[in-house]
């Protein structure tokens, strides 16, 4: 083990952890408000990637335009799941388990629909110029600082992820609407008493969650490729960040995500890189065993 490697892995861990935090935000805001185990959060993630690739190829949109299309698609798909899938069951006072099963069904079906429609090939995001000419596949710049290296995309990723974390936390804690979210989460009866429309809150929360999931999908598509089953592992990482960091605490979720990223990166000093997922799942298992409310969560009253 040497210092340089550890330092470099720390940077990698921060990049990874920032992304985990982003995914944690996406699921966290949905889960803490609605208590739905929203596995189908994977769908806006993949939808954003495919919509971006598809729109870039079809309309020769520049990268920014393709991203917008991707995010819009993510929000639309996320809201469709809420309105068509969850609302009918919520109206019926169905159990959380049946909501989860709906989520599961959608999650199983969607990647296969993507495969049927778009084929099985991995989709690379083509970068078109503003004039509609094809530049090339996306490539990022590499910076060297001393013995450390970091790519431009990673820097962008860190900034965007933490900006999103900040925005979500500020939105929930500082805005009028954000307070309705907190109100609904902490005291549903009282929220109804002051006239908060829980459906409206759900719609906004799912829109935000899906938007963030879509951003995640775009990052993966840009750095790597889009493929039908791209989302599930990242969605689960989001879940783990939430439960690891602490339920009901968005900053806790973000920190939990960061910590998981660092853990999985550092673990490769001692273990092979293929052990990283085992480390993440193991960490979750231990946390649930010794501290069920999560690292930064408050114990349930």
């Amino acid at each position: 083990m040497n210092f340089e490697l550890l330092a470099q892995l720390t940077i990698t861990g921060i990049v990874l952890g920032s992304f985990y935090a982003l995914m944690g935000m996406s699921f966290g805001i949905v889960y803490q408000t609605s208590k739905i185990f929203h596995l189908a959060n994977a769908i806006p993630f993949a939808a954003a990637g495919f919509a971006a690739v598809w729109s870039a190829e079809t309309f020769h949109l520049p990268m920014f335009g393709a991203f917008i299309v991707g995010l819009v698609a993510a929000v639309i798909v996320g809201l469709l799941i809420l309105v068509l899938g969850y609302f009918p069951l919520i109206n019926r006072n169905a159990t959380l388990l049946s909501l989860f099963l709906v989520s599961l069904g959608v999650t199983v079906a969607f990647p296969n629909l993507l495969q049927i429609v778009f084929g099985t090939q991995n989709k690379t995001l083509q970068v078109y110029g503003a004039d509609g000419t094809l530049n090339r596949a996306f490539e990022t710049q590499v910076y060297n600082v001393g013995f450390l290296t970091i790519t431009q995309l990673d820097i962008v990723k860190i900034i965007v992820c933490w900006l999103v974390v900040l925005c979500v936390v500020l939105f929930v804690n500082k805005t009028r609407f954000g307070r309705s979210i907190t109100a609904l989460r902490t005291n549903p009866t009282m929220a109804a008493a002051v006239g908060i429309n829980s459906k409206v809150v759900y719609i906004v929360v799912f829109a935000i969650g899906s938007l963030i999931a879509g951003m995640g999908g775009l990052f993966v598509t840009t750095e790597f490729v889009a493929y039908p089953t791209m989302a599930l592992q990242w969605t689960l990482i989001g879940f783990i960040a939430v439960f690891f960091g602490g339920i009901g605490s968005l900053p806790g979720t973000a920190l939990g995500g960061l910590l998981l990223g660092l853990l999985s990166s550092w673990s490769s000093v001692w273990l092979g890189v293929q052990f990283a997922p085992v480390v993440v799942f193991g960490a979750l298992f231990i946390i649930l065993l010794v501290r069920p409310q999560g690292l930064f969560g408050k114990a349930a009253a």
Partner: protein, 591 residues
């Protein structure tokens, strides 16, 4: 023929895995997304146990043709079951720590995904992504059972059919036994079990273990039959498929699972034979979609729990009148020595929550064979005192004595077994269970609640079960509701549901019965019936203590009353004595 045999084998394997999961998901109400990985744990364990002892390291690493312990197949099968059983206990460990619902989903998901990763990485055992090959087939005499050759495939299909029938029989037997009754109660109203003196932890852990053990055993057979496998075989998609089979078929109904497994298991071959390989992605679209549609239109599944309940009707013994029941029940001997001490002595009980004093030193006694009411304004600490007597809360100070014996600080289960049973304000009856089962679960000392008895002493189990049901019927008859014994409790009126809850108390054989608001929420037409029921408890010689807000009813019901305010006893006496004291009225109605 080999192909159809193989299809049958695939469906039977799915069926067995789903039926065993139904025990956990349907009966005990615990979701597990890890059934597939447990299946795999069994398969790899069996493979390593049954493979011959070799030292060819190169082969072991590269192509999965590996070494092992060289056990005979049946020993390896047993080994796989044991190992998987233990693995499941490890997963369910956090479940004991009250990790329920979505925690359990996440935990089992993590175990599934993490476990598969471990399988992929742990080459020494699993052969890595290439998996293990060359696993010897089951041989009985000169006959071999594997899926390699056409005739042996058909043989294995028959073997698998037999195994599946056994698995179904086992799961059915467990599910419909007294043990299964515990599980259903666990699913519907977990807190009821300790209140009738039964630990919920043991059946929960056991069920995790049994479900896994079956999956592990099937995994072993799978390994023997295929001869080769890789970690890919034990992925999340199989776990999801198994959960879907159980949910689509109908949770809590084994026959539903059979139908579900045939439909979903058959989807694959049907699609690939009619449409071709291109249709394969449609499979997941269809069953994912089916899951969504099902939850919308028929959440109870194709064949819901209790679908065959009607056929079992008419099996009950002849109707008993309340008077006959009274006579029969009074023969049940009390568990304590009569006469010496008051039934219940509460001495200086104190409890505060975060600085807020709920009970500030309550002392009172409850006389044997009487109905005593705890009354007082809201926040007087009545329910908190109940909770301390029954062990739900540990008192900060003070003692509780039952017939002179100190029971302060014992667990809920222990206190219930000493002879104090309680009901709850919100009834807590199990709506999806029959009236009879709701009551029968409370009958103490049932042989059928132990799995060893179920397996090794079936005759005794059956005899005890007959007695248990008879006992439960008597308890129901006492309240005149034995004719509804085979109805689902959810279908009863609220008043009858309250009576079921009281009958359940009676069935525990406890001497002291604590009733928390027995008449609240009962519509006026049925209140008299409930009160009648409470009186019958006293007539049987039981000591009854109740919390009731309606003084109107307390007056008609209670022999004595204890007036509490802010956790302190202000007065004791008959109800009439108490309500004639102006200061109590001032406290009750404000001054």
């Amino acid at each position: 023929m080999a192909y159809y045999g193989q299809i049958a084998i695939n469906i039977l394997i799915l069926l067995s895995l789903s039926v065993s999961l139904n025990l956990l998901l349907g009966y005990a109400g615990r979701v597990s997304m890890a059934q597939s990985i447990l299946f795999g744990v069994g398969a790899f364990t069996a493979a390593r146990l049954v493979l011959p002892q070799l030292t060819d390291k190169y082969n072991a690493n590269v192509s999965g043709v590996g070494y092992g312990m060289g056990w005979p197949w049946w020993a390896a099968l047993l080994g796989a079951i044991v190992v998987t059983f233990i693995a499941a206990l490890v997963i369910s460990l956090p479940a004991v720590r009250q990790v329920k619902g979505e925690y359990l989903i996440l935990l089992t998901l993590a175990f599934q995904l993490g476990g598969q990763q471990v399988m992929t990485v742990w080459e020494a055992v699993t052969g890595g992504p290439f998996g293990v090959a060359g696993i010897p087939a089951i041989k009985i005499g000169s006959m071999s059972f594997s899926t390699v050759k056409a005739d042996s495939t058909v043989r294995f299909a028959i073997l698998m059919l037999i195994v599946t029938v056994i698995v179904i029989a086992v799961c059915w037997g467990i599910g419909e036994s007294p043990f299964g009754r515990l599980l259903k109660t666990l699913r519907e109203q977990e807190s009821v079990l300790p209140s009738v003196g039964k630990s919920p932890i043991r059946p929960e852990l056991l069920t995790f273990g049994i479900t896994a053990g079956i999956a592990g055993g099937i995994g072993a057979l799978f390994a023997f039959s295929q001869g080769a496998m890789t970690p890919v075989n034990f992925g999340l998609d199989l776990s999801i498929l198994i959960v879907s089979v159980v949910v689509l078929g109908g949770v809590g109904n084994i026959f539903g699972t059979i139908v579900g497994a045939i439909i979903l298991g058959g989807l694959d071959p049907i699609l690939s034979n009619t449409v071709g390989a291109d249709a394969i992605p449609w499979r997941a679209v269809i069953y994912g979609g089916a899951l969504v549609v099902m939850m919308m239109v028929r959440p109870q599944g194709l064949i819901p729990e209790g679908a065959f309940r009607r056929f079992k009707k008419g099996k009950t013994t002849e109707e008993m009148t309340p008077a006959e029941a009274m006579e029969s029940l009074s023969r049940v001997s009390a568990t304590h020595e009569v006469g010496s001490a008051p039934a219940l002595e509460v001495e200086g009980l104190k409890k505060s929550f975060g600085g807020l004093v709920a009970v500030g030193g309550a002392s009172f006694t409850i006389a044997e064979g009487k109905i005593t009411a705890l009354i007082g304004p809201n926040g007087a600490g009545k329910t908190t005192i109940f909770n301390m007597i029954t062990g739900t809360f540990k008192p900060d100070e003070g003692t509780v004595k039952l017939f002179g014996q100190d029971i302060t600080g014992l667990s809920v289960v222990d206190i219930a077994n000493k002879g104090i049973a309680r009901s709850f304000q919100d009834v807590r009856i199990c709506e999806q269970m029959t009236v009879l089962d709701n009551v029968a679960v409370a009958v103490p000392k049932q042989a059928g609640e132990g799995l060893t008895n179920l397996v090794f002493r079936p005759l005794k189990t059956r005899k005890v079960e007959r007695a248990t049901r008879e006992r439960a019927l008597e308890c129901l008859a006492l309240f005149g509701i034995s004719d509804k014994a085979n109805d689902l409790v959810g279908e009863l009126s609220y008043g009858d549901q309250k009576l079921v809850a009281i009958a359940r108390l009676l069935a525990t054989d406890a001497d002291v019965l604590l009733l928390d608001e027995p008449t609240s929420g009962v519509d006026p037409a049925n209140v008299e019936g409930v009160m009648q029921g409470v009186r019958r408890l006293r007539d049987l010689g039981r000591t009854v203590c109740l919390v009731e807000h309606s003084v109107h009813f307390v007056q008609q019901l209670a022999d004595r009353a204890v007036f509490l305010d802010q956790g302190i006893v202000l007065a004791e006496g008959t109800v009439d004595e108490l309500i004639n004291q102006q200061e109590l009225a001032d406290l009750y109605f404000g001054s």
